[in-house]
């Protein structure tokens, strides 16, 4: 039986991969996917803590996280579509009008 520590380490690794993806990729869609990886790493932590503390609250918070993730994906992808229509590229380097 894997211990809580195993799950926490796995979750930390996944979160790190997601964070690295946000910084390394130069494609808006892949950046959103990396955010999803981070959200899932946090979900894993919630469920693992809930399981090892004998509480069902972790699982319920995961549902809320999933709803927020769905809303985030819908709005985020709508913004991506609008930006692509505007500049014809998904490279975040192209959007620097607000950059000083």
């Amino acid at each position: 039986m894997a211990t809580l520590n195993d799950y926490l380490v796995l979750s930390a690794v996944l979160f790190t991969i997601g964070a690295a993806g946000v910084f390394l990729r130069r494609n808006l869609i892949t950046i959103l996917l990396a955010v999803e990886i981070m959200l899932n790493a946090v979900n894993l932590t919630f469920v693992a803590f809930g399981r090892f503390h004998g509480s069902v609250d972790g699982q319920i918070i995961v549902f809320f996280v999933m709803t927020v993730a769905a809303a985030e994906a819908a709005v985020g992808l709508a913004i991506v579509i609008a930006m692509f229509r505007h500049r014809g590229t998904l490279n975040p380097e192209a959007f620097k009008t607000l950059k000083w």
Binding site: N27, L33, Q59
Partner: protein
């Protein structure tokens, strides 16, 4: 229970491996498909954690609905491949690079410290008595808690979804004058 541990390592390896491949791809369509595999492995981990309902929701909502939305957008935009980096951009200020490296090392040390410090008495505990575990994996119990203790949060979530829906439609709408 040795089988459980083997399953944990298999699912963990698949999840980490596919996640690494997701951020290692230049073509977004492969990234999306690999992420679905990663979510499948996570669903397996949820089953190991006695949370079958979360596992099923993960497959249906995440791998099913959200990833299809991503796939749809990738195909709608004709999946432009990521261009190789401009060599001129690599000449960035040394200070920023050192600062970033320092922050990364700091985070790594912090995480290692937190994981190593976790007391075995709490984090090393394998399981509770079977009655509690049975309750944890019961959909009936989850539903009872969700619609009593978390009823307000649940209702607020519906407003969030409504706002997200209106926002998405408004943002992605084609403006008449632009065309």
């Amino acid at each position: 229970m040795a089988g459980d541990l083997a399953f944990f390592y298999v699912f963990a390896a698949v999840a980490v491996g596919t996640s690494l491949l997701v951020i290692g791809q230049r073509n977004p369509i492969y990234s999306v498909l690999l992420l679905i595999a990663s979510f499948g492995a996570l669903a397996g981990l949820y089953v190991l954690l006695d949370a079958p309902f979360v596992a099923v929701t993960q497959i249906i909502v995440y791998a099913g609905a959200i990833m299809v939305l991503f796939l749809f957008v990738v195909m709608l935009l004709n999946a432009p491949r990521e261009e190789p980096i401009d060599p001129e951009r690599l000449v960035e200020p040394q200070g920023a690079r050192w600062f970033g490296a320092l922050l990364a090392v700091f985070l790594l040390v912090e995480l290692g410290w937190a994981v190593a410090r976790g007391s075995r008495a709490l984090f090393g505990r394998a399981s509770f008595d079977s009655v509690r575990v049975e309750q944890l994996s019961s959909v009936r119990f989850i539903g009872t808690v969700l619609y009593s203790d978390y009823a307000f949060a649940f209702e607020v979530t519906s407003i969030l979804i409504l706002v997200a829906m209106v926002g998405a439609v408004l943002l992605a709408r084609r403006h008449e004058k632009e065309v």
